[in-house]
């Protein structure tokens, strides 16, 4: 097997990642061989292209050339001296020699100096076997160090072990600046610097602080860049160098980064971002790079368990008993309460193949359409809105597209925390000069971060998105900034005219809405002008758009903006939903919604049902099924009694916890398939242990519609991959499934779903990934959609009337709560809380403006009670002016905070996506946990007991 080889070309491709073929080519001679490369290529890279590796230390192809190590010297005919090949571009007819007596002498001298100030503990060094310094000493034939080790040196300095995942050993540093440059160029945090000068030069985090106390976000880019053992993963120090690696896809957010899982046997040594990964281009964040220890966490449940009442302790049973019990319960329930009394929830954390199988089990095995997924509570309005406007329920671009963007509008998203690797790619473009507009109630990091500053920040009041986006349209229309040629050619002209007349009404002007949106009119006008006239303009949006009572309307308002300004159908533009979960795009594509079969085809459509009826050998229900909130309503009503939940924690993640738990308590058989006893498992009767992404084969589809392979690197510790568990359950229920590998499931998906027609595992293995649609019309896949017209035909303009939410502030609840994520934790935190990531974020805090805090006598760090119409909880306050007066903010990563006890059951008009982002609340000083928290803790402790063993938590 061995390690997956990656070539380091030393310097980046001069044309960036675009792979443009229109570059001017240059021909030169290197060591007697003729080489032709793109203009602007370094001699180092050209040499690598021709198969010659020039020695180097400070160069690596993820960073701009720096020219400091003096090892990559070459001789060029007709030029004086020995220029560095990394900083010298090729020229036509150039004749280069990479190995001459003079170069050999110089390089050896350079290496001799490096080694004279480097510890010679190679045998016991963690980088032994993976050290560029060692390699270079070998490459230049260094045989002695004439200077000895006694002179002034940098040895014996203290190691910084403060970061939980890597160490910094300054004694081993050669001051090549690769880490500093990676932090700047790749990650964009600027946490590292070289302090002092000359011989005293030293890498320093922050203001000469420990890494943990500095601005470092632990993305791992510096560790990746380091050529020595100076920055080293603690896992490698502990285990040793990996012996083989497998390329797979991260299971955290919707960016879908490619990683090499570097292994020793079945033990994971480290996750290393993969340069050929088209989503991340070799970058990573603290979650994907480091936070995978949950896979072997002691709290992971590995044996199936059942119990008859949710107050009973769990009893470990065999797989056979657990599956048979589940099947008999579901059959009993369906016999007693009817076919429609059970349902399932597919997981956006699981693979496409697994999601497809769960919806198949529900539709074909249960015989109803009661299947839903967590996209219900995040991006279902994206599906509805973009489907309505353009005809495709997905983003329009690939991530590479941002490199051609001139104006970026970020609405209700926080990329540097929620989608950090894309956030870094975005920041890189902004540092190159692209302009930024941020529409967000909170001053997210992007508004002002090193070398990036938003041109406009529109700090709107939560819940007023539609008013603000419609006012942007008002400015575009009334100031004559519409791209009429685009609209006439690609959109329905009559609908456009209705829309233009609507948005032009004075009541939609920035001045008219300023009072209730809180956005200064002049700022909004300037932002609108910039978006419409600043060149290629792209909109990136997140859950701050969708999780509102008018979520779908805002998505359509955004779609209107892009159409009106012609910002669609080419690189650098578009409408880009930043998807939350790793496979939320895929779970939607795979038919996880109760009204849609795979490929977004309505269950009413006879022809589509016929395709699946033929394939599955059953008659399918033609009526839509229940959505998650409807399932819970029906459960409270007594008509919905059994639920199979694969990898979703609805008790923690869904709104109005009281309502969710009441629904679950009313059910007779709740089956939770997960890694841990999550909060939903507290209400479950059957627990089926799930598998991690490291333990199975499959595919994830990221936010750019990219289908990436997930590869098994170790056997499932629980015994089965999740798709196998679904299959066993289906067989026990009497609906046979006989897949022997997920590739066979993908073949079925391809055979039934037009956008996936040409997708096979062979193709994915060969090409790395592909963006759907991928079929005979688009055999190479589709990086950018709607190039010569919209998927639905003519683009549809929809009127977007602002209708205020009924969740309003008043005397009792005068503040608006909005929620979000933080970099180090992921969603409900089930995984990241079980890693050292908690060192960055141990608890959820309530961000509150100093004015609001002072009015209430709340000091920073105080416990406060947070109350809404739905419930109350307590947490500690964090006083900050990131939020405006009148607005408070928290994350929902920790179960005891129970932020969703506070959120209401208001939801999007079109999709029932909950209105997480707006809750009227009151904040008051508190002494400690609320009654609900105490009660919940008691139930939680009680329901997590396992007979014969200690409590799992």
């Amino acid at each position: 097997m061995g390690l997956v080889p990656e070539i380091d070309y030393g310097t980046p491709h001069p044309r960036g990642l675009k792979g443009d073929t229109d570059a001017k080519m240059v021909t030169l001679t290197i060591d007697g061989e003729t080489v032709t490369v793109a203009e602007g290529t370094s001699i180092m890279r050209a040499a690598m292209d021709s198969g010659v590796t020039i020695p180097k230390l400070c160069a690596t192809d993820t960073l701009d050339a720096f020219g400091s190590c003096r090892l990559c010297l070459v001789e060029i005919q007709g030029r004086a001296g020995t220029p560095a090949s990394c900083t010298t571009p090729v020229a036509p007819g150039m004749v280069v020699s990479t190995q001459t007596e003079r170069l050999k002498r110089l390089r050896k001298g350079v290496m001799e100096l490096y080694i004279s100030d480097h510890p010679l503990d190679c045998l016991t060094c963690a980088a032994n076997g993976d050290c560029e310094l060692q390699d270079m000493a070998g490459a230049v034939g260094l045989r002695e160090v004439r200077y000895g080790m006694e002179g002034a040196n940098h040895l014996g300095q203290a190691k910084d072990t403060s970061n939980p995942y890597f160490t910094f050993d300054p004694s081993k540093c050669i001051v090549c600046s690769r880490c500093v440059r990676a932090c700047q160029e790749v990650q964009g945090t600027f946490a590292l610097t070289i302090q002092d000068r000359g011989f005293a030069s030293k890498v320093s985090a922050g203001m000469d602080e420990d890494f943990m106390d500095s601005e470092c976000v632990s993305c791992g880019a510096c560790v990746q860049a380091c050529p020595t053992a100076t920055l080293m993963e603690k896992s490698v120090i502990e285990i040793g160098q990996p012996e083989h690696s497998v390329v797979t896809t991260c299971a955290y957010c919707g960016v879908g980064c490619s990683f090499k899982a570097e292994m020793r046997g079945t033990e994971l040594v480290r996750m290393v971002p993969y340069k050929d990964g088209a989503a991340n281009r070799g970058h990573s964040c603290v979650k994907g790079r480091f936070a995978w220890g949950y896979a072997t966490h002691r709290e992971r449940i590995l044996k199936p368990m059942i119990r008859s009442k949710i107050t009973d302790p769990w009893r470990e049973v065999s797989w056979e008993e657990a599956i048979n019990y589940t099947a008999s319960e579901f059959k009993r329930i369906q016999d007693k309460y009817g076919r429609a009394s059970v349902g399932g929830i597919t997981s956006s954390r699981c693979t496409n193949e697994e999601t497809y199988l769960v919806q198949k089990l529900v539709r074909a095995g249960f015989g109803n359409n009661n299947v839903d997924t967590c996209a219900r509570v995040c991006h279902s309005p994206t599906g509805y809105g973009l489907g309505t406007a353009y005809g495709t329920s997905a983003g329009t671009q690939d991530f590479d597209s941002v490199e051609d963007t001139d104006v970026v509008m970020v609405i209700g998203a926080n990329p540097t925390d929620g989608h950090p690797v894309f956030g870094s790619r975005l920041k890189k473009r902004l540092r190159q000069g692209a302009k930024l507009i941020v529409v967000d109630p909170r001053r997210i990091d992007l508004v002002k971060t090193p070398h990036v500053e938003a041109a406009h920040h529109l700090p709107l009041r939560p819940g007023t998105n539609v008013a603000v986006v419609t006012a942007i349209a008002h400015v575009i229309v009334t100031e004559g900034l519409v791209n009429e040629a685009f609209v006439r050619e690609r959109c329905d002209w009559d609908e456009f005219q209705d829309w233009a007349a609507f948005v032009a009404e004075e009541r939609h002007s920035p001045e008219a809405i300023a009072e209730y949106t809180g956005v200064p009119a002049a700022e909004l006008r300037a932002a609108a002008r910039l978006y419409a006239t600043g060149g290629n303009a792209a909109i990136y949006y997140g859950l701050g758009v969708t999780e509102h009572s008018q979520g779908s309307t805002t998505v359509m308002a955004i779609a209107n903006l892009a159409m009106a300004t012609g910002n669609l159908g080419r690189r650098g533009v578009g409408v880009n939903p930043l998807r939350g979960q790793n496979n939320v795009q895929g779970s939607c594509d795979m038919g996880s919604f109760p009204h849609e079969l795979p490929g977004y085809r309505h269950v009413h459509d006879d022809a589509t049902r016929a395709i699946f009826e033929d394939m599955w050998g059953v008659t399918l229900e033609r009526e839509p099924g229940l959505r998650i909130p409807n399932m819970l309503d029906a459960a409270v009503d007594g008509t919905f009694k059994g639920l199979y939940v694969q990898g979703e924690d609805i008790v923690q993640s869904d709104p109005d916890t009281h309502h969710v738990t009441a629904g679950l308590e009313a059910m007779e058989c709740v089956v939770v398939q997960d890694l841990f006893l999550n909060e939903t498992a507290n209400y479950a009767h059957v627990f089926l242990p799930g598998s991690t992404f490291l333990e199975k084969d499959g595919t994830f589809t990221n936010a750019e519609r990219r289908i990436n392979r997930v590869r098994r690197v170790m056997p499932p510790r629980n015994g089965y991959a999740d798709w196998e568990i679904t299959q066993i359950l289906s067989n026990a229920l009497g609906y046979p499934m006989t897949y022997s590998h997920p590739a066979e499931i993908m073949a079925e998906i391809a055979a039934t779903t037009p956008g996936f027609r040409n997708v096979t595992y062979e193709m994915l293995d060969e090409r790395g990934s592909v963006q759907w649609p991928c079929n005979d019309d688009a055999p190479e896949g589709t990086p950018i959609m709607h190039i010569n017209g919209f998927a639905r035909g003519k683009g549809k303009f929809v009127l977007t009337e602002y209708i205020p939410t009924d969740e309003r502030t008043g005397a009792r609840f005068p503040l608006l709560l909005t929620t979000g994520r933080i970099l180090s934790q992921y969603n409900v935190g089930a995984q990241t809380r079980r890693t050292a990531n908690s060192e960055w974020h141990k608890e959820d805090r309530l961000e509150i403006h100093p004015h609001d805090a002072e009015n209430r006598g709340v000091r920073d760090g105080d416990w406060v009670k947070l109350q809404s119409r739905a419930g109350e909880t307590t947490l500690r306050a964090l006083i900050t002016d990131r939020v405006s007066p009148g607005v408070v903010y928290t994350t929902f990563h920790h179960p005891m905070t129970q932020a969703n006890v506070i959120t209401t059951d208001y939801s999007d008009w079109a999709t029932n996506c909950p209105e997480y982002k707006v809750t009227a609340v009151q904040v008051s000083p508190s002494n400690g946990p609320s009654d609900w928290q105490e009660k919940y803790k008691t139930h939680s402790d009680l329901s997590r007991r396992i007979v014969g063993t200690d409590a799992a938590e």
Partner: protein, 71 residues
């Protein structure tokens, strides 16, 4: 299902479609409900309309009345 909640949801859908141009609001509402509401939900709102349909906005009422009867 609680008629209050369904009435609220139906009116929310109604507010969107009545804000669109033309006179197709009731058709749009009916289509949306038919496409996204499970039969139990449609049955419950129809039962509510059979008892007078209190609380439903006029176009929404018209839309629900136009839906095929769920049994």
């Amino acid at each position: 299902m609680s008629p209050d909640k369904l009435v609220y949801m139906a009116n929310q859908i109604g507010k969107f479609f009545t804000s669109q141009p033309g006179d197709k609001a009731a058709a749009g509402i009916a289509n949306h409900i038919a496409k996204f509401w499970e039969p139990r939900m449609r049955q419950a709102i129809q039962a509510h309309v059979a008892q007078g349909g209190g609380g439903l906005d006029p176009e929404v009422l018209k839309a629900v009345e136009s839906l095929p009867k769920v049994n």
